[in-house]
């Protein structure tokens, strides 16, 4: 029960925080670009809407920039911003003198970040749907897409992308809890993301924990082939980083 109260308390703190806006803006950014693109190149829309692959193509187009750039960067920023709330406001000491144990605090904060990611995925999915529907509603003569939406395939894809971004959440969370300076987790995150982009085509690129969203997308696009269970690896890294982060957090000598 204490965990739920702690979660509610942590959830309140993110009100008006940039991370909350990031979830909304990030969720609708790519869909809006796609809507604009569809309206600008409206002559191509008719052929697309009658295509049996309409939704799959739209899905892949939406994930192209999201998986490689926007999702990892968004996770890096949002995780660091949420953790930064306590450092920036000098509130660790207040938080640590409340009647709740350190374990609860650690996992309540992590849960807030994870729920925010789920929020982001929901908004992104709504955005993808709207980016398929809005242009055909606005342009005369273009029929509603004939192809049916492959719900289960998309749900599975969502889950896999979600698992793939978990190690980024866990490592960013670990680093953000240790450093007061916001630039440290941000710098480390960006450096690891650049590294992950650089090693996409390296045969052992999958050892970098920030590569999985991109690798998954490239694999889906038949642009990359590997025989490593990257989603298991991603989950393994998530568990490992979470355990290390937890140990470092509860053994801190100074708690504010």
């Amino acid at each position: 029960m204490q965990f739920i109260y702690s979660f509610q308390s942590e959830w309140l703190k993110k009100k008006r925080n940039l991370a909350s806006w990031l979830v909304v803006v990030g969720g609708f950014f790519t869909p809006i670009i796609i809507i604009i693109y569809s309206l600008v190149y409206s002559s191509k829309l008719y052929a697309a809407s009658v295509s049996p692959n309409f939704w799959i193509r739209l899905w892949n187009n939406s994930w192209e920039s999201m998986s490689i750039f926007l999702l990892p960067m968004g996770v890096i920023l949002a995780t660091s911003l949420i953790t930064q709330i306590e450092f920036r406001n000098n509130t660790w000491k207040q938080l640590h003198t409340l009647p709740q144990n350190m374990t609860t605090i650690f996992f309540a904060k992590l849960a807030v970040i994870i729920v925010m990611m789920i929020q982001f995925f929901i908004l992104f999915n709504i955005g993808v749907y709207l980016s398929g529907v809005i242009p055909v509603l606005l342009i005369k003569g273009v029929p509603y897409p004939k192809a049916s939406i492959p719900y289960f395939a998309f749900l599975k894809e969502n889950m896999l992308y979600f698992i793939d971004c978990l190690p980024i959440i866990a490592l960013q969370y670990l680093i953000s809890l240790q450093f007061k300076n916001f630039l440290v987790p941000l710098g480390v995150g960006i450096a690891l993301w650049i590294l992950s982009v650089a090693v996409f085509r390296w045969q052992y690129g999958y050892i970098i924990p920030y590569t999985y969203c991109g690798l998954h997308f490239l694999h889906n696009m038949d642009k990359l082939h590997f025989h490593v269970p990257i989603h298991f690896l991603a989950f393994g890294y998530f568990v490992l980083f979470t355990i290390i982060g937890y140990i470092l957090y509860i053994t801190k000598k100074e708690k504010g």
């Binding site: 308390s9 309140l12 000098n90 509130t91 000491k93 207040q94 009647p99 144990n101 708690k255």
Partner: protein, 303 residues
């Protein structure tokens, strides 16, 4: 037997590689008292208070709060403790009410307490104003509202009047007095200025360089003040005057330029003066040196 709300035994602490900042601190804060924890900057006050709240990991010694060992009963103890350590800890992007809501979720106190706490500190009209836009005084008040939100039986306040104007200081003082008298809240309040808390506290602990130099009631400190006061006599014949004074069973402390004796009653001073005049000694001056609490405090920290 006195019941202590806070009791420490040989509490010592040092930051890595440095000299100990606390040396065998035996703090005894009586139940229901307002305990002034005094010392100059860097004396070890904040370190002691952070140890009491579990913000620093205890290295040596024992801490008991509400008669329970702190580490083993941390959560049950903290349910009844409110604190304000150093600068205000507020979520600057949230309003005063939202700041209290964050804590109300944890303490599980009635939501009506949020309004009550804000009214007590005079911040009920701040509306949608974010805490980051508050003046330092308002932030300090909000921090106090946070510390009293759940009606704690112990309040630990580290220099809570920092940044407050004289009016604000008086208001906070009255508020703390009221909490203590009406709700029997035990209050530990640290300060580096004795004058600031002299009118508030019932007990005092003086700390300097990690050592407790004095601990007791305000009356005991006042007794010490009396004990340290002296009377000076300047006469035309100090040698003869010394004999006369001694013959009246009064101890001479020094007789170099002036004759110095311990503080005695007014009548005794008049009697001595009369006797000296009767013996033909001219009395040029009789003066008292009565040390105020501040100078006693300064004596403590300068020894």
């Amino acid at each position: 037997m006195i019941s202590y709300c806070i009791e420490t035994e040989n509490l010592s602490y040092k930051f890595s590689g440095n000299e100990p900042v606390l040396k065998n601190i035996n703090l005894q804060v009586p139940q229901g008292s307002i305990y002034g924890f005094l010392g100059p900057n860097g004396a070890g006050k904040t370190t002691t208070l952070r140890l009491l709240l579990g913000l620093l990991k205890k290295q040596q010694g024992e801490i008991k709060i509400f008669n329970k060992e702190f580490d083993a009963n941390r959560i049950s103890i903290l349910k009844n403790v409110g604190s304000l350590i150093e600068s205000p800890s507020l979520y600057s992007h949230l309003t005063a009410t939202e700041n209290l809501e964050v804590l109300q979720k944890i303490y599980r106190c009635p939501e009506t307490r949020i309004k009550e706490a804000l009214e007590i500190v005079g911040l009920s009209q701040t509306g949608n104003k974010k805490a980051g836009q508050f003046s330092l005084g308002m932030k300090q008040r909000l921090s106090i509202a946070i510390s009293i939100l759940h009606n704690p039986s112990l309040l630990i306040l580290d220099e809570p009047t920092n940044g407050l104007d004289p009016n604000g200081i008086i208001e906070i003082r009255e508020l703390l007095k009221k909490l203590n008298s009406e709700y029997k809240t035990t209050i530990v309040i640290s300060s580096h200025l004795l004058a600031e808390i002299e009118k508030l506290v019932t007990h005092i602990g003086v700390i300097n360089k990690g050592n407790i130099l004095f601990q007791g009631t305000l009356d005991e400190l006042r007794w010490k003040q009396m004990h340290n006061s002296v009377i000076y006599f300047d006469t035309s014949d100090n040698e003869k005057a010394k004999e006369i004074i001694s013959s009246n069973d009064i101890r001479i402390l020094s007789s170099k330029e002036w004759i110095t004796i311990p503080l005695v009653e007014k009548k005794a001073i008049a009697m001595l003066n009369q006797k000296l005049v009767e013996e033909g000694i001219e009395v040029y001056q009789i003066s008292t040196s009565q040390k105020d609490l501040e100078s006693i405090f300064m004596d403590f920290i300068n020894t």
